[in-house]
Every structure is written in structure tokens, then in C-alpha cells.
């Protein structure tokens, strides 16, 4: 349905994103994981064709959706896709709705724009979708303003907006980060159900490995604007080959007793202006050797998964 090949993004002279590839089909969920600043959100903005909004541009690679390359799509045609066939769910529901307008019209917009409905039809559709998202009393909610609702409820509204025109692909950019833990689980379950019921392709951007483990079919691990490992979720969790992936998995808290130790990764994510030479992860990597500081590693492909590490094969041998 959607495939991204070797995507690169630049802002002026800095290039915060390069060599990102993944693909996702209907009924499938792909997780894009990484710490903040690793380029996850930029990937989402690129697919939505919204980079110009934040002053960025695509420098290379292709984004293919349903057979057509989006990187060369004119804005007018792109607008039909946005909200129509590709829906976006943003990070912070508290600020993602227009505070001056009621909920109803904000959701109605989508059906009117993409399904050619009139005001009444669009409202009926809005209420129907709000109902399917288990929002009580949809008609009442439509008449409310965003500030009168909780974060979890607002995120449902955002999801309703993304779903209103029956899209093929849903991009969820950290949909639960700003929410309470209990609400987080509800939203994730909701998204998971939607994928199954509506045969959606879901791109789930998150920094939470446990969410990935629960919901995703495939995973892309990103670090410093690059994909460092990708593959089916079982492979990634059972036999992670990139040291960064291994570290991320080690960070997942296990067990409930106090003795369970939380591990972190030493050091911090490099910022765009000081991406290290060679392998971007080498300053924080426990396994780094001289070559890591000079040569960027190629992807070492193994079945349907790949890892960008000079020692990926060694890791295979060890875990085998």
C-alpha cells in the first residue's frame, strides 16, 4: 500500500533524515521506533507531504502510495490524498484541535471535503464515526469545544477526523505520548481494532518498545535520522542484531517487583548538527571498534530483516 524507499530530508544545508525505507500493507501495522530527535516525526511529515510547512524538503528517495510516487505529486492532487486516503493522528491531542471551533464542524470538514457530502450528511457521518469509536452521545460532543474535553476524548476526535473519509493508510505519530497511562492502553487497543476491522495500513510512530511488541507486525528502528534495523516484529525482538535495538529492548521494564532494574542507554541522541561520522551510534555503542568511527555500515540483510551494523553477522553467530 505504502512504501518508502531511501527517503532523505533536508532543511537548508542540514540533512536530518537519510536512507529511511519501509513498507506497509493493508491490515498491517508497522512500528517506527526511536528516541526523540531520531527523525520519526519527520518521516510522518514527509509521507503527508507537509514538509514545506515546516521549511523542509525531500532530497532523495521515493514515497510510493498505491502505485504512484508522492514525492513528485502536485500540491492540488496531494490535498485529495491528505485526509482522504491517508489520515494523520498527531502527537498532542491537547493542541491539535482548533480551540475556537466546535468539535462537529472540525470533523465534518473531512467528509465534506473528500466524500462530497453536504452539511447534514457530513454531520450524520461524524456522529456515526464517533459512535464506532465508543464516544458516548456523539450529537452532544459535536456541540462542544475542545477545551471542554479530556485528552483521551480529544485524541478519539482526532482519530475520528483521520477515519472520516475511510482512508487506506493511517499514520499515528506518537498517538499516546501526551495521555495518561490508562488512556494510552485504550487508544492503542482502539487503533489495533481499527486495523483489523477496516483493513487499514497503520504506521505507528512511537518510542515505546512494549507498544510495538503488542501491536506491530513489522518494525523500523531509527537512530539519528537513519533506519538502523528493520524486520518482522518477532525477529526484531527475538534476535535483535543492531546494538541500539538490543539496548532499546533491554530498556523495557519487566516485572512488577522492586528489584526489576530499569536500564538506560548511556549518552544522548546526537542533534542534527553534530551527527557523528561513520556509524551514528558508535559513540554510545558498547561494541564499537575503530571502523565504526570512520565507515558508515551497510545494511546486512538476513531473510526479511536487515541491520546497519558492521557486526551484524557476528551478532547472528552469537545468538544462533
Amino acid at each position: 500500500m505504502l512504501s518508502v524507499r531511501d527517503l532523505g530530508v533536508a532543511f537548508g544545508a542540514v540533512e536530518p533524515l537519510s536512507g529511511v525505507s519501509f513498507s506497509v500493507d493493508k491490515g498491517e501495522t508497522i512500528g517506527i521506533v526511536g528516541e526523540s530527535g531520531s527523525g520519526k516525526s519527520l518521516t510522518a511529515m514527509s509521507v503527508m507531504g507537509l514538509l514545506p510547512l515546516i521549511g523542509g524538503r525531500i532530497t532523495g528517495g521515493r514515497i510510493v502510495f498505491d502505485g504512484q510516487d508522492l514525492t513528485s505529486l502536485p500540491e492540488r492532487a496531494y490535498r485529495k490524498l491528505r485526509g482522504g486516503r491517508i489520515g494523520l493522528i498527531t502527537q498532542n491531542p491537547m493542541t491539535s484541535l482548533d480551540p475556537l471551533q466546535k468539535i462537529g464542524p472540525q470533523v465534518d470538514d473531512v467528509a465534506r471535503l473528500h466524500l462530497g457530502m453536504n452539511a447534514n450528511e457530513a454531520r450524520a457521518r461524524t456522529e456515526e464515526i464517533l459512535g464506532t469509536l465508543r464516544i458516548p452521545e456523539p450529537a452532544l460532543i459535536c456541540d462542544r469545544y475542545p477545551h471542554q474535553m479530556s485528552g483521551g476524548m480529544k485524541q478519539r476526535i482526532v482519530i475520528a477526523m483521520a477515519l472520516a473519509a475511510d482512508p487506506d493508510v493511517l499514520i499515528a505519530d506518537e498517538p499516546t505520548t501526551a495521555l495518561d497511562v490508562t488512556v494510552q492502553a485504550q487508544i492503542i487497543r482502539l487503533l489495533d481494532d481499527l486495523v483489523k476491522q477496516r483493513d487499514l495500513a497503520l504506521v505507528l510512530i512511537t518510542h515505546d518498545m512494549s507498544v510495538v511488541a503488542q501491536t506491530c507486525d513489522k518494525v523500523v528502528v531509527m537512530y539519528a535520522g537513519r533506519a538502523v534495523e528493520y524486520g518482522p516484529v518477532e525477529t526484531i525482538f527475538d534476535r535483535p542484531r543492531h546494538p541500539y535495538t538490543q539496548a532499546l529492548i533491554a530498556c523495557i521494564p519487566r516485572g512488577l517487583d522492586d528489584t526489576a532494574r530499569l536500564t538506560g542507554i548511556e549518552g544522548t541522541v546526537p542533534t542534527v548538527i553534530n551527527y557523528p561520522k561513520g556509524c551514528p551510534f558508535h559513540p554510545r555503542c558498547t561494541r564499537a571498534e575503530a571502523i565504526c568511527a570512520t565507515d558508515p555500515p551497510d545494511f546486512s540483510v538476513e531473510g526479511d530483516s536487515a541491520a546497519a551494523c558492521h557486526f551484524a553477522e557476528v551478532a547472528d553467530a552469537q545468538s544462533a
Partner: protein
């Protein structure tokens, strides 16, 4: 809901207008010399004096005097002008329409032109236009109004002879005064509109509006403009006071009748009943302006409506 809000805001005006009226009332008493003399012509007979004392209860204590005074004010009984020898109420009635016309036009001019310029400069974002706007805003907010008025008179009236130098006959006499007051207003409104639009563009929800597939034009007019209008309305409401302040200067320079020129003249002649009446009217206008602004803002922003009601 909006009615309730308006009512509450009106209630809040009561203490404010009370304190202002006390200050204005006290002017006569803070002046050096006998307050009664300050309200009388030089060389008035003892009978005149006795009449004034009786009318305003000037022999009683200050609190009583205040309430007599404010009661008279409410009934439009502003007293007798000392120098102009006429009821102050007549003077106010005569001058008020001129101030309202000038103020209204200047307000209209600064808001429409200012918002248009501000929107253009926020949307186009061309470096040359930016520089021009910044220069214009700097000039508009720094050049003294009366000097600008004099320059305009020198150029358009004296040299080109397009408009009358002074007076208030016909619409041509309004052009330069409106331009003078409007200049600063336009610059201010343009700046606020521009900043507010640029701020609104950076809000998170704009990303989602684009993600819905809305066009940039729709987003600008249906979503960004209402947001940009909020601070603009606040500024315009505050500006009603400043426009009146500008009108004070401009009326004086152009020799137009109006509350401002009346006030300046009365100050120069120490005609205190007139001074008090003018100040009271201007203060009232400022408060009404802020009130209108607040109510307008509340009608646009649901968050404000609820917070205060």
C-alpha cells in the same frame, strides 16, 4: 452566555468608574486656593457664590459633595463654564459629535488598513516588504502625532492646497486628521496582526488542518484569521482610548471642534467645570472601549466566555 459575560464585565466597571470619577472630582480640591473660587469667575458677586454653594452643597462635607456632583453629572447637569459663560452640557453636546466622527473614522481606518497590511505581510513574507513594514511600524509608533499633523498640513494644505488647513467644514477637513491618528493605529494593528498570524501558523492544530486536506486559503481565512483577530481586537479596544488621546492632539492642531480641543482650551483657561466634564466623558469612552473589546473577544473565544462566567 455572552449576555451574562457582558453583565459581569459591566459590574466590574462600577468600582473602576467610581475611582475615576473621584479623581476627576478631586481636581478642584487639589488645586491651590479655595475650591469654590476655582469654580467661579473672577469678580463674581457674593450672591453668585452663595448660589453655587447652595446648588452643589459646597458647605457640606466632601463625601456629600461628591454624591451631589456625581448625581448632577448623571443627569447631564455639568455646571456652568467659567470663561465661555455657557452651560457645560451645551459645550459637550456641541463638541461630542465632532469627536465621535473623527474617532470613529480613525478607528475604522486603522483597523481595516492595519489588518490588511498585517495579513499581506504575514502571508507574502517577502524580505523587502518585511523591511518596509518594519520601517513603517517604527515610524508609526514613534513620530509624535502633532508633528505629523503639522507636516501633513504643510505638505497637503499649504503646498498642494488639497485640503483645508483647519476647521471642520465638509469631509475634506476630515482627511488629514484621520490620516494623522490612523498612521500610528495602522502601524500598531498591522504589527499585531502580523505577529498573531505568524504565531497562529505555528500552532499544532494547523498541521492537522493541512492533514485533513484543507487548502491554505481555507486554513488562513477560516482558522488562522479568527485566532489572529483575538489579539487584534484586544489592541483595538485599548486603542479606542489611544485614538481618543490622539484625537485630543489632532483636534487641537487642526483647530477642529471636539472634546479634545475643548479640554486643552479649558486647561489653558483654567475653566475647571469644563475640564472635569471633558475628562469624565473621555474616561467613559475609554472604559466603554475596553468593555466592547472584552465582549467582542469573549464572543469569539469560548475559553474566555467560560472562565469568567
Amino acid at each position: 452566555m455572552i449576555l451574562r459575560y457582558t453583565f459581569l464585565r459591566l459590574l466590574m466597571l462600577i468600582p473602576v468608574s467610581f475611582s475615576i470619577s473621584v479623581v476627576i472630582f478631586m481636581i478642584v480640591y487639589l488645586l491651590p486656593g479655595d475650591p469654590i473660587d476655582n469654580l467661579l469667575r473672577v469678580g463674581s458677586s457674593p450672591e453668585d457664590r452663595a448660589e453655587l454653594v447652595a446648588q452643589y452643597g459646597l458647605d457640606r462635607n466632601l463625601v456629600v459633595q461628591y454624591f451631589v456632583w456625581i448625581g448632577n453629572m448623571f443627569q447631564g447637569e455639568f455646571g456652568q463654564a467659567i470663561v465661555l459663560r455657557r452651560p457645560v452640557a451645551d459645550l459637550v453636546a456641541q463638541n461630542l459629535p465632532y469627536s465621535l466622527t473623527l474617532g470613529g473614522l480613525a478607528f475604522l481606518f486603522s483597523s481595516t488598513v492595519g489588518m490588511t497590511l498585517g495579513t499581506i505581510s504575514a502571508v507574502v513574507r517577502h524580505p523587502v516588504l518585511d523591511r518596509f513594514m518594519r520601517g513603517f511600524i517604527l515610524l508609526g509608533s514613534t513620530v509624535p502625532g502633532f508633528w505629523l499633523a503639522l507636516l501633513l498640513i504643510l505638505f497637503f494644505s499649504v503646498n498642494l492646497g488639497w485640503f483645508p488647513v483647519s476647521g471642520a467644514g465638509g469631509w475634506t477637513s476630515l482627511v488629514l486628521p484621520v490620516l494623522t491618528i490612523g498612521f500610528g493605529g495602522v502601524a500598531l494593528v498591522a504589527r499585531v496582526t502580523r505577529v498573531a498570524l505568524l504565531d497562529a501558523q505555528r500552532e499544532d492544530f494547523v498541521t492537522l488542518l493541512h492533514a485533513k486536506g484543507l487548502s491554505s486559503g481555507t486554513i488562513l481565512f477560516r482558522h488562522l484569521m479568527p485566532h489572529a483577530l483575538l489579539p487584534v481586537v484586544t489592541i483595538l479596544a485599548l486603542r479606542i482610548g489611544w485614538i481618543l488621546g490622539g484625537a485630543v492632539t489632532v483636534e487641537f492642531v487642526f483647530g477642529r471642534p471636539g472634546l479634545g480641543s475643548l479640554l486643552i482650551r479649558a486647561l489653558g483657561q483654567r475653566d475647571y467645570p469644563v475640564v472635569q466634564a471633558c475628562l469624565l466623558m473621555l474616561a467613559l469612552a475609554v472604559m466603554l472601549g475596553t468593555l466592547i473589546g472584552d465582549v467582542a473577544q469573549a464572543s469569539m473565544d469560548p475559553r474566555i466566555r467560560e472562565k469568567k462566567s
